[in-house]
Symmetry: C4
Subunit: 325 residues, 4 copies
Amino acid sequence: MALSSQKSRLRDINNTGFGPNSSVEGGRLINSDGSTNLRKRGIPLWERTSIYHTLLKMERAHFFLAIFVFYTVINLSFAIVYLITGVEHLVGVDKATTLFEKFAEAFFFSSQTLTTVGYGRVAPTGMMTNCIASLESLLGILVFAVVTGLIYGRFSRPRAYLLFSNNLLIAPYKQGKALMLRTTTYKNNHLTDVEASLTLAIHVKENDKMVTRFYPLPLEISKVASLALSWTMVHAINEESPLYGFDKTQVADSKMEVIVNIKGFDDHFSNIVQQRTSYTYKQVIYGARFLPMFERAADGEYTLLELDKINAHELVQFEEDRVMA
Amino acid sequence: MALSSQKSRLRDINNTGFGPNSSVEGGRLINSDGSTNLRKRGIPLWERTSIYHTLLKMERAHFFLAIFVFYTVINLSFAIVYLITGVEHLVGVDKATTLFEKFAEAFFFSSQTLTTVGYGRVAPTGMMTNCIASLESLLGILVFAVVTGLIYGRFSRPRAYLLFSNNLLIAPYKQGKALMLRTTTYKNNHLTDVEASLTLAIHVKENDKMVTRFYPLPLEISKVASLALSWTMVHAINEESPLYGFDKTQVADSKMEVIVNIKGFDDHFSNIVQQRTSYTYKQVIYGARFLPMFERAADGEYTLLELDKINAHELVQFEEDRVMA
Amino acid sequence: MALSSQKSRLRDINNTGFGPNSSVEGGRLINSDGSTNLRKRGIPLWERTSIYHTLLKMERAHFFLAIFVFYTVINLSFAIVYLITGVEHLVGVDKATTLFEKFAEAFFFSSQTLTTVGYGRVAPTGMMTNCIASLESLLGILVFAVVTGLIYGRFSRPRAYLLFSNNLLIAPYKQGKALMLRTTTYKNNHLTDVEASLTLAIHVKENDKMVTRFYPLPLEISKVASLALSWTMVHAINEESPLYGFDKTQVADSKMEVIVNIKGFDDHFSNIVQQRTSYTYKQVIYGARFLPMFERAADGEYTLLELDKINAHELVQFEEDRVMA
Amino acid sequence: MALSSQKSRLRDINNTGFGPNSSVEGGRLINSDGSTNLRKRGIPLWERTSIYHTLLKMERAHFFLAIFVFYTVINLSFAIVYLITGVEHLVGVDKATTLFEKFAEAFFFSSQTLTTVGYGRVAPTGMMTNCIASLESLLGILVFAVVTGLIYGRFSRPRAYLLFSNNLLIAPYKQGKALMLRTTTYKNNHLTDVEASLTLAIHVKENDKMVTRFYPLPLEISKVASLALSWTMVHAINEESPLYGFDKTQVADSKMEVIVNIKGFDDHFSNIVQQRTSYTYKQVIYGARFLPMFERAADGEYTLLELDKINAHELVQFEEDRVMA
């Protein structure tokens, strides 16, 4: 059964934000970290980069390294300026004799000005040097205003902290099969009014050309009041499903990609949080079901959620496949 | 009448975020402060802890103690570093002779650097000491950026400031009974578009096994335009209710837990605020009704809300129970 | 025609957040600035006051006065502490001889420490004084963290900046009458998706007792895509309206209060903003219509909105009243 | 065919926030940057200006210039005050002999106080000078609190970063025509749940008077799940459309303006963002279609979006026009 023959039954959607030809075989649409597998060009990099977004998403170590480098570069620049205008206008540097010593004194004076620590062992005199120091302290306040904001912005950025199972399982469900994946919050956060939506991107043959079509994958439960434990999302593969009749081979042939989007309200951020992920056909396990990941505690006083069991599953064989084999 | 026999009438819901076996007798799902009675394991503590959430929720005294301890530890660490690199590079500590005096001078110099107060009586000289001081003042700015953000985040965190009655009352209502609880805002905040939802978790016998089932408890009024005075939420225990026919004994036997979730819009935060609480069967008073908690002021110019009367109720006896007794 | 006789026709609502007896004659529910005319008692003042809400709403002059007083009090307190521990541990105060001079030096040293300006002319020595100064600079940073947050919070608090007409007009409308009020944004902000809701609180006689009943007043247009110019809200007083058949006398007798709530999305705050106001029967003008408040500019290139005309109206006489008179 | 004759077929809307006479020929309602082409008067400028909105929208260069000017003015003012109270109370300025030198010392002392850098080479003595310096350092902290907030507010302000095509195209669509425009995000941001709405403002003759009428322009797809690539919004000009039957001449005669409003949820801001634009009849190209602006990358691993092709289109001739010509 060719994929193209199913065309009439599938309810195609075209409001995914991706065009029919946007993806080619092998190139996924959404990366598993939720970012778009897309590059932009045509306008200069600085115009098409949101510095705020970039600094917000940057890894922590890189972020602090960037601050350190920035701090050093500013101080080096001002040190040069103070050297040019004359270190003799910095009182307290009399003992510095070599150029390097003078430069060091100017550098450290700059850092004391920028951070407004201003010990005063070295202090500016004269119009020009005073002007520069005055501007540097203003700059320092402005720069650290941005840095303060950024650090806090990174720290307090509303995030869903969701852990997803590594695989999509095609599991037995009622009399048939279902596509399943599992998620849970892995931090001490608590989401309420959580909604999930699954979109299938699939390669189908149309007029002898492979094109990408998108279909929603309705869930048995698409909204939970509270995401306290784990949530196994279940898309029943019944006659309504675009995946109906797919066997192991067709799953692989379809080059399918499933885009998962979760949205909920976080109590502590008092904000809506969102997380996206995507699974390719390589992550689909045909014939498997999830094992429980929570249990009652020994003393019966609380529930215990075992985060390392998010991927725990056992293989199963479908009746029909057994017959076929 | 066994609880299990009611199974067919009850409209079971399974989108609560808790599984059917998630709770066991005696272990509640939600604590009365709204947190989840749940422990997680399987990934390291630091990965499953959101420092931001923790610092935001921490008690005020603990929070400021944490800042104080952190401040002291940083200064102690830098004091040791300044001692190692040589206090002779800190000008102004000449009078310090004993190690303790030197350490004290280094410690206070560190604190003056970290807070950028920088009096300058003690000031760094030499490459190494200057470098360390320069880094410490940068660190100080970054650390206090986080602290500034946190203090403000704690201070301005959107909260509902709701006071709940300590008990659930089963009160006379129309011709029958109703489950009632009462809430009010206890601060000078004002909520609009306030929605409440009640979920019942109940232990029922299924196939000789006790399982937890969840049911929504519809309210007579589930949304109020404005939460100015107190709000008595009323769930009528009619034939539609999962609690229909429950007498005093069954309430206790059911090990019932009622999860309350309130969501509204706060004017001053300009944000949605949410508060959760939970009542166990131990908090249910069978046969009682709330007494009013507001009255007209003596001069008739305003309404007076008496917050200490949130729990005020009087006991009543139901007709049927009187007959039975 | 007594008000009580209309009871059956009126669709009473009871989800306003006010109870039926919450208001008494003469005491309005909502003040015209949108706050609730309500007092709370029963728990201590500090527990029922949100300091954040209070400082956010406080008048600007009072807010800065509060900061100034707070700053002075902290410095006075620390000055006393420095005096007690001995001003001789503050190097640089040698010239101070009188107690007042010593106190002044301690006071100014304190302010230099609290603000972290730390000139160093006066600087601490000795364990005790250094410790206190170290704590004061930490306190300074924490205090100004809160102040920074508050100033920014006040400054950036999402507000609707709506100007309302002073009066409710009962104006000719189609073949009958309508209740009208007018609003506009008076700042350079722009609201989209703006919704309005009007609630009528009215005194009716029930069983020989005056009680307050609440009714929604449906608007001809209750949502506008964009609030660019002025918006005249129109409630048609037809047979569906709780105000149907009211003449001048009945408007006054009813002690009516109309609560107005506007909610919209502000572009620049990127947030929902809300504003509330209320009109009592004393603000109703029976027989008047609004005059236009915008016009084309002389050069035809833009529209001119005249904010001082928000209340502009002309008196009209109703046909029926003329007949009756 | 006169425009006025179409009146009956058009479904006029009156909840746009603009009145029927709000616009005159040649004066657009919304500027292409989304601001309203409107002036307000009648209350003083400072009351009708939101300083926060103004400083948030101001161009970056102007914003920093404003800070610089403000900083200079405050320092100049305090320098004068220090001169008046006597520079002899500033220790360390002994070498300054001329008035200019004294003024310069006072100016730089002021800047060192305002930024709390406080070197201490120059330091205050005496009651009066100390008081002023103490107040200036408090002022400095408050001022920079506002500046910190503003810089961060500007930096982190939720924005949609949408690029719109310069023109509205009237393109072939199915068997007829459609009005099309194109948008894309040009930064590394990602919008989800994006909604678009188009409103047509058109001049029609009514009772021999030209008035402005508003009509919604329904889109073939008005909501996309994710705005990853470009989005071509399509309004089919069928019999339902207010633009039905318009030829090149009528488009120009109608003085039409199309107001576009886009709203979506931004992941990184975790906030709703909104952007507005407007097209006048001068920007309509009759008979043109967009050319694709994305393609598969050479290695097939990602999709390439070419932002400079946002306006790329080719001219086409409509069948009917060809016949007519």
